[in-house]
């Protein structure tokens, strides 16, 4: 089963496929044991994750977090516009506009640095990522203990207990 089909099985489980694609996957499930196993494993994983979803807390309020992104986008747009018009600027105008941009950017950087330092001296910092190279796994980093957890959600291949432990 190729990667696209695996994704479709997952999307089928989430109920997000179109009726035509949904029928295709239903037909596939009727004849392919691997697809059935994958569907079962995905369902088990989803059930296992219910109630144990990892809460990644932002060190600031949601509004402030998104406002930073908005400010950053506006800053990028302004900078692009200025870089196009820079030839028309006099040297004085350039330094003036640079100061206007630099001061809030420096303040934002200082805030970000302070937040990072506070977090790094804190007791529990973690990060969740999905491995791009391995779509069947997700990774959780706990920086406070130097622990990395990699969880593999490949379909179980046998029925007589785990293929790994025991």
């Amino acid at each position: 089963m190729d990667y696209d089909t695996q994704l479709k099985v997952q999307t089928y489980l989430d109920g997000e496929l179109s009726p035509v694609e949904s029928r295709e996957i239903a037909n596939l499930l009727a004849r392919d044991r691997d697809a059935v196993a994958l569907l079962g494993e995905l369902r088990n994983t989803r059930q296992a994750l219910v109630g144990t979803e990892i809460g990644v807390l932002l060190p600031e309020s949601r509004e402030f977090f998104w406002s930073k992104i908005e400010r950053d986008i506006k800053f990028q747009e302004k900078r692009d516009a200025q870089s196009q018009a820079v030839s028309a600027f006099s040297l004085g105008d350039f330094f003036h506009s640079w100061r206007r941009l630099f001061v809030p950017a420096a303040a934002l950087s200082a805030l970000a640095l302070a937040a990072i330092m506070t977090l790094s001296s804190g007791s529990h910092v973690s990060l969740v990522e999905t491995a791009v190279a391995d779509p069947g796994a997700f990774t959780y980093h706990d920086f406070s203990t130097g622990t990395t957890l990699v969880w593999f959600s490949y379909p179980a291949e046998d029925n007589d207990n785990s293929s790994v432990a025991k």
Binding site: E41, N44, T45, A48, G51, T52, E53, I54, H124, D134, A137, Y140, D142, T145, G146, T147, T148, L149, V150, W151, F152, S153, Y154, A156, E157, D158, N159, N161, S162, S163, V164, A165, K166
Partner: protein, 150 residues
């Protein structure tokens, strides 16, 4: 003159051998692997399994895992030379193939019943821990905890 040259060459040869042996040994990565069975049951189905130590249990409880009890299946200490490899059998069914790339990079391949189950490449600094895991049939899980001792 000829004898002196021979002795000198011998001494230099021995010195080089000793230095290279010392440097290789010093750079060996010392690791410990623990195979753990996670379950919500109070007892492991295998009476030989013993509950994990308090330190391991605390470490696992800080991770986003849903299981309440963890049992140690086996524990193995081993070393891997720089840019070398080592095969570490953890149980009848489970084996780890551990390779090192440079001083801190590690590649772990988990084999279950001879089949490749999982692969992971990452930095593993001193005293760092890499935990590979997955669901087992039923509501259980397996965990391979690899700690870098030195």
């Amino acid at each position: 003159m000829k004898r002196t040259t021979l002795v000198l060459c011998g001494v230099v040869f021995l010195l080089i051998q000793t230095l290279s042996a010392v440097s290789v040994h010093a750079a060996d990565m010392q690791l410990e692997a623990v195979l753990v069975w996670g379950t919500n049951e109070q007892k492991s189905p295998d009476p030989k399994h013993k509950p994990v130590g308090a330190d391991v249990k605390t470490q696992l409880q800080q991770l986003p895992l849903k299981w309440t009890n963890y049992f140690e299946v086996n524990r193995v200490k081993f070393t891997v030379p720089p840019s070398g490899a080592n095969k570490v059998p953890l149980s009848e069914k489970c084996q780890l193939d551990v390779k090192t790339h440079g001083e801190d990079k590690i590649e772990v391949v988990v084999f279950g019943k001879g089949k490749q189950v999982a692969t992971r490449n990452q930095e593993l600094p001193k005293h760092g821990t890499l935990i590979l895991g997955g669901d087992s049939p039923g509501t259980n899980c397996w965990l391979a905890i690899i700690k870098r001792v030195e």
